[in-house]
Symmetry: C2
């Protein structure tokens, strides 16, 4: 990435300006009515859509991803900004609750007039991802949800696409300025050290991150070790195991094999939801089918660091005595690499969970043969927290126990679908027990992601005109209000 | 507390049994329908109410609190258990969301059928408080909300009331057994080391705590430094400043003085919501009124450790050159201590925020004279995170900026009421920015406390009969469902 060297890290003086202006912008940005913030998110989305012909080529150059993929990703990104606008106009995200005073409250003491609403946290530092240069980057999901919640965003650009990050930032800055938003609502930071400094600054009140387990854990630790710890929402890594039942394998083994290859090689395997492990019955024709399928041609990975990391993990996996090559192109370790399918047994996987269940970011997956379908529960139990877990089954399968375990291990459980592709919707859940995410109770995709960047405040005994609008009896914002426990 | 020595810390072998049985109970407890768990919470509440004549005297003996106070607290505690039952029967806490598949979803890619619901985390360790031997102890708010959410609870008893803790635990255990609940749904642990070990055990998935800043921070750090970090909800400490405006002081200074004395000496000042600082206009007659009021008689504090901590902090506060005694009984440092009111100026408070804004647990408060009402904003800004902040004002006050700052600093902002007394309601918020709590986005009192012990899980593409009941189209639990973004 020769272009990277052209971008200088943010200096301490520049960072101070960004932090001070984020802090200054926090109160006016928080004070805007939700619908006004929605209009601003729309304006940013419109500006990004309009710059599509500038942004997509820049992204192609810096990430090696295809035009079709990046065009789709930009569309997803602007859709996401507008969807959070819809959330703001709806107002249910405020969870407005009104308890009227009640002298006979059965607790044994009178109930005061209490009203509770969600308010913004303050400036949020967002660490962008490498693999989604739009959707999990400068104007991605963390930014959109933190903004929607009413917080300024300080965006730490990913070193993999600095030119695109700067171009996106300029479009955002211009779009915000055009509608009169204070400059500090958005700031861009370059460089690992500046990002870490920002996360530890007392003016910053939360962090968001998408990336590797070591990187995310280091930042999570920083956020928690501050004198004032702050919430840190890191989406780190996942193996995304897929469990094929006996019946499904017997019924449509070839089809499953083809779908699996499509899923694990999609985007050269550079998705956090790539299915990394496929459990198949020993002797099923899935293994034969997989061997017979011609794997896709080599595709260049995002950048050299990803390429180096990929070959390192692939070499480590392949070197296991218990692991053999199931299918592989001619240049598995080259740049660009041919995809690889490895093969092992359930017993071996259970003997080496740490190494064989680690995420391999790139076009490799591990096929694991099991003996008895009843073993699947113990195999599922052996995994750490996951973003997704998938069952390929049919109506006759006895999978209740497997579902119970997988719902405990993963944030999203799929049935006869593949985990790659994370739809931005109301019911999406992208996040799971550690190390899938550092915050088990949250999602980084979908409308519920806004909750991460809010905190509840109760007002007791206030006159109507001093209450936030969402808590006033007249309900001028027309938001859903729970009154005396009734919605 | 001679009785403490009679209770032996939980041994490693005993703890292992408790942890294993909590883990074993997790799935069946989680699988119960919410209304069935509600019935069980009711049964526990009934059993505790029925044991009132055993429990209250035990609590009096171990905590020095009055019969009236403890009788009220037990009533509050059983009310709280039943209120969480109401939350379970309502079902909105599940936040059930259903997105139907949509081939024309405007994101640019088809939307799959996605359904998201909150599920339990797994075994929760709860650390009981000293100052509420019922409401924040064995069967208190953390236990009630963690249970309601569907998690087994391992309760680390507070060393200040071990006899009451064991008696309460026995009543719970019998009540649960009588309705056929697996034993591991509740376990009692004695001793600091056993509590810390439990919190770090991989089978434990969350922690709750009410107590001091150093103790809570140490446990928070442990929870975050685990290989698998877990959510830790600590309610630590608060100064609860009260800001009296010029107009209010002029209008009803004597009344404010009397109410303030009632609030800061209530329960011998041993509430986390005790108003620790009162800002009054320089020269207002509030100071004279306070000097004239006879402070309440000495009351014995909870235990010797609290007494020692109290006198230490009081001595440190009093020794400041800038701090004088405003009013004090004859034995401020004795056991039991006479209440104390100290006096200083706004300038001095701003010069020594760390020492003068620290929580003093016991019957002492600091009165601070300010010069200009406009100084209140900067004074408010100087505080760390608080559980509560209060404005005593009237209709003519210009307090918009003060409210903005206080809503940023505190979880609950009060108007012309006093912070002691935390009603258990739908809209209550007991929690604020650090160090008030370790988790700024949550509450430990009120129905919203259940959210702390839940995590979202999405099911993609599942047939109806394999979905959790709350997500089925037929909605057999009759819970609120958001369908395609519409509630």
């Amino acid at each position: 990435m020769s272009s990277q060297t052209a971008f200088n890290p943010t200096t301490a003086a520049e960072l101070e300006v960004i932090l001070a202006s984020a802090q200054k912008a926090a109160a006016p940005w928080a004070a805007l009515r939700p619908a006004a913030r929605a209009d601003i998110l729309d304006a940013v989305a419109d500006a990004l859509d309009a710059a599509n012909e500038i942004l997509v080529p820049l992204a192609m150059k810096e990430t090696n991803l295809t035009q079709a993929r990046l065009t789709g990703e930009l569309k997803r990104t602007t859709f996401q900004l507008r969807l959070f606008g819809e959330v703001l106009r709806d107002g249910a995200y405020l969870d407005a609750r009104i308890d009227h005073a009640d002298a006979n409250w059965p607790m044994g003491a009178p109930r005061p007039d209490l009203r509770r609403v969600f308010e913004p946290l303050g400036p949020v530092v967002v660490f962008a991802a490498s693999n989604f240069p739009f959707a999990f980057s400068v104007a991605g999901g963390d930014t959109a949800s933190a903004w929607a919640a009413g917080n300024p965003v300080i965006l730490k650009a990913h070193s993999g696409h600095p030119g695109l990050s700067l171009a996106t930032a300029n479009i955002i800055t211009d779009a915000l300025a055009a509608v009169g938003v204070p400059a500090g609502v958005f700031g861009l930071v370059l460089g690992t050290a500046a990002g870490a400094t920002a996360l530890q600054d007392p003016r910053v009140k939360a962090g968001g991150f998408t990336g590797s387990i070591p990187g995310g854990r280091a930042l999570f630790d920083m956020a928690n070790q501050r004198p004032e710890p702050i919430p840190f929402y890191g989406e780190l890594g996942s193996n995304n195991p897929v469990f094929v039942t006996l019946a499904a394998a017997a019924e449509r083994g070839a089809e499953i094999a083809a779908e699996f290859v499509g899923s694990f090689t999609m985007g050269a395997g550079q998705f956090c939801t790539k299915p990394g492990t496929l459990f198949v019955p020993r002797g099923s024709d899935i293994v034969q089918s997989l061997r017979a399928i011609e794997l896709p041609a080599p595709a260049t990975l995002l950048n050299k660091r990803i390429q180096d990391g990929y070959t390192e993990v692939l070499e480590a996996l392949s070197s296991h005595d218990e692991v053999s090559v199931l299918s592989q192109g001619s240049n598995p370790l080259a740049d660009p690499p041919s995809p690889t399918l490895l093969l092992t047994t359930a017993e071996d996987l259970l003997s080496h969970p740490e190494s064989l269940q680690a995420e391999c970011f790139g076009p490799t997956a591990l096929v694991v043969e099991y003996t008895n379908e009843s073993d699947l529960v113990a195999l599922a139990e052996s995994f750490e927290g996951q973003l997704t877990a998938t069952i390929i089954g049919n109506e006759d399968c006895q999978v209740a126990s497997l579902i119970e375990v997988l719902a405990r291990k993963a944030g999203r459980v799929l049935w006869n679908q593949w985990p790659t592709g994370v739809s931005v919707t109301y019911a999406q859940q992208h996040g799971g027990p550690y190390p899938a995410t550092t915050s088990v109770g949250s999602t980084s995709v979908g409308t519920a992601a806004i909750s991460r960047f809010l905190r509840p405040v109760a007002y007791q005994g206030f006159p109507q005109d001093l209450l936030p609008e969402a808590l006033q009896d007249a309900n001028p914002l027309n938001v859903p209000q729970m009154i005396n426990g009734v919605r």
